[in-house]
Structure formats: structure tokens, C-alpha cells
Symmetry: C2
Subunit: 486 residues, 2 copies
């Protein structure tokens, strides 16, 4: 039954199995159909619509969720591309050995309790797993991870992840955090091409995934959450090659002394070195983010803003104090807010009542209109974009003010339609930032408007701080590429 190929498969070949396996075996499938259907790996794949062959393994069952069950991997008569191991940790080395003998191409060990515990027993078990695959062509994801989410391959680690494929590749050392990021990004309207939570990275690690996704046509932006690296120089080279062709966003966690201590307990990773990481970011052009919120905003910017190397922003939005704060925020994050030309100011003066306190120098304060975005507002965006000094337009909106003060509650459609319409003829990128107050209905509507705008191709952010930070980092990325490769 041993079916070793004479030559080790290439990383490309391994990744094709990781994301599009033709057959999947599941160790630890439950005889309790209700339980398996709601929280098991077989249930997950069935409900997600996995199209390949699915083999539940359970010595005590003949059928699970209508599928024939097998007592062991070796009892399966056909070839198995991919196996998911959900068993007590003590059983893992043995079944991984069985997978190797069966010629399974990729094994995902979901089970935890290995090196990450810091215990002798955990480390010993992880060594045994490692020994089982050493010298074979069987590759391994994990242990201590939730594995793969790939809509086009029919794989998922979560029942509620979108079945729609997108253009984000995301590789994460944390499972819970990774799943939560996918869930939140999905809710914002973002979609993923390939996601892997790889846990302890006993075998396959972030280096392998980045090398693959740099040339993957289904991926336009790469996001990584890393706590440690197995091979720093290979990682560095992989990122350098990737950033040449697409933005790479990196959340490197455990960089501070406090964080390093936490990382050691979490995935048994060695402390990161802040100086080394600083050099890494400077030399690769990778975009650094510091938490999951920033990661999501950077995804939005990277996917929805076309190549932008200029940092001069034209601001449009009401509220003098908010305009001053926004201008400071722009500059603190690396953007510039130049005074509009006399000609542009003249045109803006015809759109706004400049003598009653409205600013037209940048920011431009233009009435939103009590029925939603007015024609004047849309025209103002276009006028500001036509200033030759301006590289892009940022408009900031505070819907709670309109809802609470003017009683406007149905603003979403009008705003979305007006912005999508004006964006068709905007000569420069347009970015939308919302200010969120405390009102839950407004929170919901901002989410709805944001999702529509995003799907219509407009970058949209939940705070002004998030917008200015994310755009400034994107500009720095394109400047790095221009300076180094063009």
C-alpha cells in the first residue's frame, strides 16, 4: 500500500493538494450524526459543499452522515489526498504513521497538546509526529491548528465562512484569531482565495505558503500573522519576491518583551527581535500592521485603492474641528493636506456658503444635504479631485449627526448610489471614512453602506484614523516598489 513517488513533490504540487484535494479522510468523525453535522469536520465539509470524495474514519461506525465510514485510513480502497486528524493527542503519531504508509499527500493535525504546552509530554509527542513523516512525501499542517479555508477547493474550518471566493490569501499562526479575522472581514464584504491556520508549523510553514501565493493568480494581496519563523532567510526572500508583484501585509506578533513572553506560551515560538523585524520591513516593502483591526483596514486599502504613489489628499467633510483633527491625523500618518489652488477655491465657493463659516481651502466643507448626499456634495468631490496638486480624495462622514439631529434614517441607499455614481467619473482615487458614534442602528447602517461601497469598488473605512493610516501605508508600499523595481 505504500505509494511513495520517487521524486519529492514541488511546493506548487503540495499546495495544489492543500487547497484542492480530490479526496479527504477525517479521523475522529462522530457516530452522532447531529453532533458531526453541527461541529464535526465531516459535517463542515458536507455543509460547505466539498465536491471531492469524503471518507469518515471511525472504527465503531459503518456510516456517518450518509457516507460510508472506514475503521482506518488503510481500509479506504482508493487513494487519499488529504487527511484531517481530530483525535486525542496520544493517538496522533500512530495515525500520522498510517497516513505516511497509505501515501496520503497532506495531513492536517487539528489536535492540540504538543510543543505549545511547553511540557515534556507535548514535546515528545510532537517529535514522534515529526519522525513519522521524515523521509516521506507526506506533508503536514499543524499540529494545534484549524487548517485550511479555500472556497474554490470546498474546504473550510468554520461553518459560517463565505462560500464565495475572493482575492485575499491569509496565513496565520493563530487559529482562533485567524477564524475571527475571516469572520469579520467576510462581514465587511471581503472575500478570501486561500487561508491556512498552520499552528506549530512542524512541517509546512508560512515560508511555503508565501512562496506559493506570490505567483498564485487567484491572490491579489497576502496577509500574514506570524509569531515566529522556521527559516528567516527563506521567509525574507519569499516576501521580497511577493512584494514585487502584490502587497504583503504582516502582523508580526511577539515583537516586544511582553509580547514575546506571550508568544512562547501560545505557539512555542521564539521571541522576535525588533531590530531584525524593522530591517525586514524596510528591506522588503512588506506593510506592517499591529493588530487585527489594522490588518482588515489594510486589506481594504490594498484591494480597493489603485496604485497610488502620491500622498497629497483633498479632504471633503463637515465639521470644522473634525477637519482640523483629520488634517493633523493625515500629516501624523505621512500624508499632506495642501491648500487648494485659487481656481479650485473659487469653484468651491459657488458650492458652499463660504462666508457663513464653511471652509474651502482644504478641507472643503460642503453640505451633506438633509436627504442624504446632495448633488452639491458629489460635485464638490469631483472639484476637489480636479485640483492638480491632489493625488486622492478622502471624504469623512458622521451619519449619527444626521440621524440624531435631523431624523434622517434612510440615508444608506442615497449615499451609496451617489458615491458609486460620482466615482465613475472621478479622475483620482476616492476614499470614504465614517465616524461612528454610539448608536447601534447607525453602526448597522455604516456596516451596510461600507459593504455596498466596497463591493462597488470604493475603499471605505470605519474611522478616519483607520483610513489615513491604511492609505499612508499603501502609498509607502507603492513608493518602495517604484524606487526599487521600476
Amino acid at each position: 500500500m505504500v505509494t511513495k513517488t520517487p521524486v519529492s513533490p514541488s511546493n506548487q504540487q503540495v499546495m495544489e493538494v492543500v487547497f484542492h484535494p480530490k479526496s479527504v479522510a477525517v479521523f475522529g468523525a462522530s457516530r452522532d450524526t447531529k453532533k458531526e453535522s453541527s461541529s464535526g469536520w465531516v459535517g463542515r465539509l458536507v455543509h460547505f459543499g466539498y465536491k471531492g470524495k469524503l471518507y469518515p474514519i471511525n472504527p465503531g461506525a459503518s456510516e456517518i452522515m450518509g457516507l460510508k465510514a472506514y475503521p482506518s485510513i488503510k481500509a479506504i480502497p482508493d487513494e487519499v489526498d488529504y487527511a484531517i486528524v481530530n483525535l486525542p493527542r496520544e493517538m496522533v503519531p500512530g495515525v500520522v504513521q498510517d497516513c505516511v504508509e497509505k501515501g496520503v499527500k497532506v495531513v492536517h493535525v487539528y489536535s492540540a497538546g504538543f510543543a505549545e504546552t511547553g511540557t515534556e509530554e507535548g514535546k515528545k509527542l510532537q517529535d514522534q509526529v515529526k519522525k513519522a513523516i521524515t523521509g516521506s512525501n507526506t506533508r503536514l499542517i499543524g499540529p494545534n491548528c484549524i487548517g485550511v479555508y479555500c472556497p474554490s477547493g470546498g474546504l473550510t474550518f468554520s461553518m459560517d465562512s463565505s462560500k464565495e471566493a475572493g482575492e485575499i490569501a491569509f496565513f496565520t499562526q493563530t487559529g482562533t484569531g485567524g477564524r475571527q479575522l475571516v469572520s469579520r472581514a467576510n462581514a465587511r464584504g471581503l472575500r478570501f482565495s486561500k487561508v491556512v491556520s498552520y499552528g506549530n508549523a512542524l512541517d509546512l510553514g508560512v515560508e511555503d505558503f508565501v512562496e506559493y501565493s506570490a505567483t498564485d493568480n487567484e491572490t491579489k494581496v497576502i496577509l500574514l500573522y506570524v509569531e515566529g519563523l522556521k527559516d528567516g532567510s527563506r521567509f525574507f526572500e519569499a516576501i521580497r519576491r511577493a512584494t514585487k508583484v502584490k502587497p504583503v501585509i504582516v502582523l508580526a506578533a511577539g515583537l516586544t518583551e511582553s509580547g514575546a513572553g506571550a508568544a512562547a506560551s501560545h505557539t512555542a515560538s521564539l521571541a522576535g527581535n525588533q531590530q531584525v523585524w524593522r530591517a525586514f520591513f524596510e528591506q522588503t516593502g512588506a506593510i506592517q500592521v499591529e493588530d487585527f483591526d489594522e490588518a482588515i483596514e489594510q486589506l481594504v486599502a490594498s484591494l480597493k485603492i489603485p496604485k497610488l504613489t502620491g500622498n497629497k489628499v483633498g479632504l471633503v467633510g463637515r465639521g470644522g474641528g473634525l477637519g482640523v483633527i483629520t488634517s493633523d491625523m493625515c500629516e501624523r500618518n505621512g500624508l499632506k493636506v495642501p491648500r487648494f489652488t485659487q481656481e479650485i477655491q473659487k469653484i468651491l465657493a459657488t458650492l458652499t456658503a463660504a462666508d457663513s463659516g464653511s471652509t474651502i481651502t482644504n478641507p472643503a466643507e460642503i453640505g451633506f444635504g438633509r436627504e442624504g448626499v446632495s448633488k452639491t456634495y458629489a460635485e464638490g468631490l469631483r472639484v476637489v479631485a480636479s485640483d492638480p496638486q491632489i493625488d486622492f480624495v478622502l471624504t469623512f462622514l458622521y451619519p449619527e449627526m444626521y440621524v440624531v439631529e435631523f431624523g434622517i434614517t434612510n440615508w444608506v441607499d442615497g449615499l451609496v448610489n451617489a458615491f458609486l455614481e460620482v466615482n465613475k467619473t472621478m479622475p483620482k482615487p476616492m476614499v470614504v471614512a465614517f465616524v461612528q458614534g454610539q448608536n447601534a442602528d447607525v453602526f448597522k447602517d455604516i456596516g451596510l453602506a461600507g459593504e455596498h461601497l466596497l463591493r462597488g469598488g470604493i475603499a471605505c473605512f470605519p474611522t478616519i484614523q483607520a483610513a489615513t493610516k491604511a492609505v499612508a501605508k499603501l502609498v509607502n508600499y507603492y513608493r518602495f516598489i517604484e524606487a526599487n523595481y521600476e
Copy 2:
């Protein structure tokens, strides 16, 4: 009719009139009762429950909202403490002159269109107003501002502000931003003692308000939004005296080149100098914030966290990746996350399943419980607080996970009660940070829980970033006070 007092009133006397006038006259009250009731200054004061004498002024009306109306200020038979001017700008110099002659103690000019427009006409009108009060005992707030909100005095600039008085004094050069901040802070459960939007600061300015509130017993924390100063050295001294006795939070806007341009158009303020402001913050101990979001969080920290000079935090919360990110965030913001003592770790190990991947070194990962906060969780908070190295406890919670994954929707009461209960016997300050996802119901519940916790005396923040930043800044403030005055 001229009733000049021989000696100029002290700042204290002026402020008593500003916040607790015995009588108020309103220029520009509307004959249309419906309009006046919904958006006029008389309507506002009537609905807010102002207890003093109220004199609407309108030459074309005999009665407004059931109150006798007067054709002019001079026609009012009694003394008038305070007048609100809501008239076309051209009329303002004349009525201010009338107020001076009538002996009105404080005039609030709501009308805009003065120096802030940058026009000759605007500047000329402002000069005329200034001339009218020069040499008199009449003091002026504005022009171009929404004036005073003081629940104990019955004054408000907004119909929806809370009638309940609190301990925050807030002085702001921006009216719209100021009103929005009050509205958002109210919704969080925060309450104010005295608020003034003072606009162009022709006469009374931030220096006067700070001097007063430093010794005001109704005020425990002071917040300022400033774009420019009339008297830098007086401001510096007033702040120094205030920070000795209570935290002072300052949002100085227009500090960058971009922001300074915007400030010039907004309130005609001169560009701030970043070096000067940096020295100001270093030498006064005032707490710098950069936007309204940070301002609100700093208010929460300042009011709800007792004096704290230690920066060592014990973290409790689920999610290994989130724990690592939080630890990094703590250290980046100036806090430390020390490893718990062996003794504490031993106790934590009995509360959590450390061998299945839960961290007990700091952060401590403890199960939240599917029915809300478990007894184990509460006990974990107490254990962490008992570590002799720890100065305070920060617990981070991600309710969306519980709602989406476990279907727990009624978590608010259980969590609030458990936290208020455990807080009674906590030997050290406890801080709560939420992680907000995209779910609007969860947003609403986080708001609700936050308000209950806050009113119960527990500092509570909408993000981990906000919590760590605000607490770190508060620690720095108390360290400054200790180093300089104790």
C-alpha cells in the same frame, strides 16, 4: 440704565454667572412657537428646565412660548444676568452695545460670520463687538459658538444632552465637534459639570475657564479642545495649577502644517507650534489626546481608575493570538506584562486546562463559560490581581465570538453582575476592554454593558488599543504628579 459696578468682577464671579445665571434674555426668539420650541434658544432652555427668569426678545412679538416677549433688552424691567444673541451678524455690534448699557453681565454671541471667515467684513464686525464691551464689566462668549451646557444651571446648547450633572468640565473651540463629543460621552454613560463652546474667543477664552475649573468642586477632570491661545503663558500657568489637583486632557488641534491650515479657516487661530506644545505637555503633566475618540477614552480612564502609578498589567482573556497582540500593544503604549510568579501560575493551573493549550504565564487564558462569565473567570481575575508584581488587571472580551459560535445572546446582565461583584473584593484596579466585530446587536450590547460597568465604577473601553493607551497615559500623569509635587 447703565449699571456699571465700580470694580471689575473676578473671574470666579463671572463664571458663576456663566454657569448659573439668574436671568437669561434671548435675542432672535421666533414668533413661531413650533419652531422656537423645536430649535430655538428659548425652546431649548424651557425644555431643559432652566429655573431662572427667561426673557424672549422680538420686536414683533408680545408672547413667545407663553413667556412675555420684549422689543429690546432695555425694555426688560429687571436686571439681566445673561443674554444669548442669535441674530444676523450685522445686528450683533448694536445689541451687544445695548447689553453693555443695560448692564448685562455675560453675553453669548451664537451668531457666526466674524473673524473666522477671513473676510474684511467679518473682521470689521468682530472689532465693533470688541469695541462695544471694552471698558465695561460685560463679558462675552463667542462669537461663532454654541455657548454653555451646564445641567446644574439649567443651560444647554443641545436638546438631547443629559439633564444629569457629572464631574467633567469641557471647554471647546469647536461647537459641532464639542456637541458631538458630549452626545457620544452621554451615550457611554459619562456626565458633565460644565461645558463651554467659546468659538472665536473674542473675550472669555480657555484660560478663564481652566482657571475657574481647577478649583471647582463639581469638576474632577478637565477636557479641552483648543486650536489657538490668546495668552500662552497664562494658559500654561492655569494648566499647571489644574494638573496638580485633577487630570487635564488636552486635544490641541492644528499642530501639524496641514492641521494649522485647517485651523486658520475654522476659528481664525494661528498655527500651533509642535515644539512649544511638546514642551507644554512635558512641563505641565497635561494628558495629550489626538482625536475625539481618544478624548472620550481618556475621560473614562481618568474618572474610573483610582490613582495608579504602576504600569505592570495582569492580562486575562481568551485567544492566544489576541493575547500576544495585546501584550505587544501594552508594551508599545508604555505598560509591562510581567510573567506571573510560580505561585500564581500554580493557582491559575487549577482554574484552567493548561495542558490543552491555555496560557497561564500572563496573559491568563480562562474560559468565559458558555452561560456568560463563569465563577472560574471571576476567580481568575482575583488571582491575577493578587500577584505582588501586578499593579492592575486588564481583561479583554470578544462577545461576538460567544454570540456567533455558541449562540449566547443574553450575556450582558451576567457579565455586568459578575464583574461588579468581583470588583468589590478586587485588591487592585480592574479595567475591561471589549473587542468589537461587525455584529450590530453585539455593538448595542457592548454599549449597554459598558454603560452599566462604567456607572458601577469599572473603567470599560470599546477596544484593547483604547484601553492600553488611556491607562498608560493616566499612569504617566500620576507619575508626573508624584515626581513633581509629592
